[in-house]
């Protein structure tokens, strides 16, 4: 029996180490492939330049702009809705409604990405084209709206688990003081659940940055630098998917690793920054 428990501990530790090492290994691999670009200073030229292989331009600036604008716009749409939903599902609604809302959210989390993309192509895109943005309807705004729907369940699940795990003693004390649900939410639950809320935002933003299919299907993928949200744009992830078929030895292919590095570094920066600014957290718990 003791042998079994020791064995399982070892297995779990190996799994944890393995997945940690994998993340580092991916970074090192991208670094080694992208190294030629980094050493001769081309990396920053690529970062600031435009993409036009026919004219020898391999910059990824339009895609950096596309990725950042789509991801943050999606977060902007999704965060208020997700926060509101999680408040309703934990405190503000009567219990049967809470269960119903949570059931719907769990179902939404299970819907494959491609379904959202597919439905949006036939329903949202024509609506955007005729009523809102004009043009082809394939643009940054369309992609961001669908991404907002996609990342909402992830964030809501995090928020709800944070709000529910506040110590029962505190809740009883607040109830005994005669607080209304809204007061309980604002003065007890939100401050206590803050770390979970930050984690939820990080997960949501990470998913929005990392998603490939939605932007590939809905953002239009043009290589022009987008000037407004109604312009067609391309994300770094979609760019990798579109260029990966290029010749291995070509400059197009090498530039993919620059995209990968940018995505990786950007995600790390966002995670560290959000942890840093959130109160009651020290950096050791990242």
């Amino acid at each position: 029996m003791r042998l079994l428990s020791r064995l399982s501990v070892t297995v779990f530790r190996l799994a944890a180490f393995g997945s940690g090492l994998l993340t580092i290994a991916v970074f090192l691999m991208m670094l080694s492939f992208g190294w030629p670009l980094l050493t001769d200073g081309q990396f920053f030229t690529l970062l600031a330049g435009e993409w036009n292989p026919a004219n020898g331009l391999f910059g990824i600036y339009p895609m950096v702009v596309g990725s950042i604008s789509i991801a943050f716009l999606a977060l902007l749409f999704s965060l208020p809705v997700s926060l509101g939903t999680s408040f309703v599902a934990t405190v503000l609604a009567p219990p049967p409604v809470r269960r119903f809302v949570l059931g719907i959210i769990r179902f939404m989390a299970g819907v494959p990405t491609v379904i959202y993309g597919f439905v949006a192509v036939f329903m949202l895109v024509p609506f955007m084209r005729e009523q809102i943005t004009g043009g082809s309807g394939l643009n940054i705004l369309t992609a961001a709206i669908v991404l907002a729907v996609l990342i909402a369940p992830t964030m809501i699940v995090f928020f709800v688990s944070g709000l529910k795990n506040v110590k029962p003693e505190y809740c009883l004390a607040v109830d005994a003081l005669g607080a209304r649900p809204v007061q309980k939410l604002i003065f007890l639950l939100i401050p206590q659940a803050w770390p979970s809320i930050v984690s939820g935002i990080i997960m949501g933003l990470g998913r929005a940055m990392g998603d490939t299919l939605i932007s590939l299907m809905l953002a239009g993928n043009s290589i022009a630098i987008p000037a407004s949200v109604s312009d067609s744009g391309r994300t770094l992830t979609a760019h990798i998917a579109l260029v990966i078929a290029a010749d291995f030895s070509s400059m197009e292919f090498k530039s993919i690793f620059a995209c990968g590095l940018v995505l990786y570094i950007f995600t790390v920066i966002v995670v560290v920054a959000l942890r840093w600014v959130s109160p009651g957290q020290d950096l050791r718990s990242i």
Binding site: V121, S136, S222, S232, I244, A245, D247
Partner: protein, 275 residues
């Protein structure tokens, strides 16, 4: 009565001939088994699917998987040994052939036609107009005789064989606007244009159906007859590529594509046979 009889017998004869040719073309697969992996050009897919269905129905011990990805993907994956047959809607370059030792089989000819939404009143363009539309000089349909709506450009990714032929032969290697939307397959292009009343794009002639409207280029409609007799110039071969001389299932599959039955499939999907 005698007339009916004649019809009956001739139909029976035709049927038996069809059965005999099909049977003989498929017979070679009887003793085979295993998996055949095919990927690459998206124009090829309808033919590949039909051929694979016939072979797998004849001999259920054979599994054939078919994926898209584009001509560039097909050439690269077959070269790297990831798949057995790579499809390409363009010839592999000298560099690709020498680097990987590729072997090409051309089994059909295909045109690449400009398409618009059926609601669009524009049904004909000159090469110059087409060039100016794709380079972004002409941005409104009224400039070429349509309604007062801005033009939505749809282009393919750089690895597309359809794109490389269209760019070389229809656009004469002219610039393409950076504002063009980019879709990833012939099927996706058709869906995009079928859904966008102000869109313009291009697909393999085999993919043109009632959901989109072909646009005549310099007065020549991109259809099977015009590609066949050479009037419509924007055409290319459809190739299937193996690494080295094809062997085993891959060889049988390529032979099947070139057999009368295989060529008939290609014709029924809107391509021109090479035999």
């Amino acid at each position: 009565m005698s007339h009916l009889k004649k019809v009956f017998w001739s139909v029976l004869m035709l049927l038996s001939v069809a059965v005999i040719t099909e049977a003989s073309d498929l017979d070679k697969f009887d003793a085979e088994k295993g998996v055949l992996k095919i990927a690459g050009g998206t124009a090829h897919i309808p033919v590949m699917k039909e051929a694979a269905k016939m072979i797998m129905q004849k001999n259920s011990a054979i599994r054939i998987t078919i994926a898209g990805g584009g001509s560039g993907v097909g050439i690269k994956q077959v070269g790297e040994g990831l798949i057995d047959i790579g499809n390409a809607g363009r010839k592999a370059t000298e560099k690709e052939i020498s680097q990987y030792g590729l072997h090409m089989v051309k089994w059909a000819i295909d045109g690449v036609g400009v398409i618009v939404n059926p609601k669009n009143s524009v049904t004909s363009l000159t090469t110059k107009q087409l060039n100016e539309i794709f380079s972004g000089k002409i941005t409104n349909w009224k400039e070429v005789g349509g309604g007062d709506k801005s033009i939505n450009l749809y282009d393919r990714d750089a690895a597309s064989g359809t794109r490389s032929v269209f760019w070389k032969k229809a656009l004469k290697k002219g610039d393409v606007s950076t504002k063009a939307n980019i879709v990833v397959s012939n099927g996706a292009m058709k869906t995009a244009i079928a859904g966008d009343p102000y869109g313009i794009g291009y697909v393999s002639v085999g993919h043109i159906d009632a959901t989109v409207a072909p646009v005549a280029l310099d007065g020549v409609v991109p259809d099977l007859a015009n590609v066949k007799n050479g009037d419509y110039k924007v055409s290319r071969g459809l190739y299937s590529i193996t690494k080295g001389e094809p062997v085993g299932l891959a060889r049988l599959f390529l032979e099947f594509l070139l057999s009368p039955t295989g060529q008939k499939i290609a014709e029924s999907k809107g391509f021109i046979s090479v035999q």
